[in-house]
Symmetry: C2
Subunit: 232 residues, 2 copies
């Protein structure tokens, strides 16, 4: 999911934190809900552990590679738009001039300044293309290593998040006893995680923490109920 | 995951399509990989169906509510930045003037035009704030109903996607036979889905289709392998 950081807080680390948030959000929630669902429907923890581990493997790879693909797609998209803008600046100059003028009209400049500003911008081709990329299309140049880093960070965060709700099943042998510990530990982690995530996105941390925790609880309860229905 | 659409294709439907892509991507992949993983480790399809249904319930709720939360967060963030910009325009006018001038310097205007353009923009407070929101902070005004619609679209797409790999297990009673059908049907769906998704994002549809299909295959193979190891 997308997260917007205020420009002043937009440090180098924000991409990393966004990846951790993406991976851990689902990592804490989905394996938790799956284990909860199975706890109501099966009588052995070993099947829950196998299903949980399979889900963590599947989820971390799917999300990690999904992050890689999203990064690559962003890069491909940026490059293809960049080529298109260079082409248009060279071959459809009057149309680009018109688009640039419209941009300045849109932000509220007078006719006279629209013309002058457009004329100045159009003097340097590279600067002009950079300007169109950023302000007409709203595209920032992506970091070329981003896709690979993103894949790893998301995948690893999913694994870390997913092992939290599953861990009690390794030590306790009754599914419902393990579920009790799992609920306690996971809701606590979701609350703490939600608190930090909300601080990062600039919303009220206590309300955010509660919302994240309730989503996890609701998903787990639904999975428990649905599995119960299908068991009988 | 984020998807960028070219501005000309940025129709009203693009938010809907983006939600469907988010939900169906994971819906086709994670329940598929989970079912594949369990097929190597258990001897009854009923446990796979229960686990699969629990995962679909958990995943669709977690992703749907996650989408709701992301939409709400975007809205909250936009509103808080809007209030901040109005405050700054009224109380820290010289700083905002300086930031506006810097914007025009950054896109390559001459000193003279920087001053004139800033002066014109600063005349209308509302337009000025809109300008700062969009071009200094890069924030677009979010649709207020977006969060709710998004939650529903993502959740429903996840369910639809997740039922594809699971359906063979309802009809075939040997896990490994059901897995064979599931692999065939799901990889085909992932290929078709990847093709449309790539067209939407403007990358080569055949390469994109192959990438999406391979991610699914890889996640399923990994889940199968990991579950096999934990079974023994």
């Amino acid at each position: 999911m997308e997260i917007h950081l205020h420009h002043e807080e937009h440090l180098q680390s924000s991409d990393f934190l966004r990846d951790v948030v993406i991976g851990m959000s689902d990592g804490l929630t989905v394996p938790f809900a799956l284990a909860a669902g199975l706890s109501g429907a099966v009588h052995s923890t070993s099947i829950i552990i196998i299903a949980g581990i399979a889900e963590i493997a599947a989820g971390s790879i799917a999300m990690g590679l999904g992050g890689y693909l999203a990064g690559k797609t962003e890069q491909d998209h940026y490059n293809s738009e960049l080529r298109r803008e260079y082409y248009e600046v060279e071959n459809l100059r009057h149309r680009e001039i018109e688009e640039t003028r419209e941009f300045f009209a849109g932000i509220g400049l007078s006719k006279e300044l629209q013309e002058k500003a457009t004329e100045e911008i159009a003097r340097d081709k590279d600067k002009w293309v950079q300007f169109m990329m950023k302000h007409e299309l709203g595209l920032d140049e992506p970091d070329p290593k981003r896709a690979t880093k993103s894949a790893f960070n998301i995948g690893a965060s999913y694994v870390v998040g997913g092992l939290v709700p599953l861990s009690p099943y390794f030590f306790l042998h009754k599914p419902l006893s393990a579920l009790e510990v799992s609920v306690g530990v996971t809701l606590l982690c979701l609350f703490v995680f939600g608190w930090f995530k909300s601080r990062l996105t600039g919303i009220n941390p206590w309300a955010g923490a509660l919302r994240v925790m309730l989503i996890g609880a609701f998903a787990a309860a639904a999975a428990f109920g649905v599995a119960k229905i299908f068991e009988s």
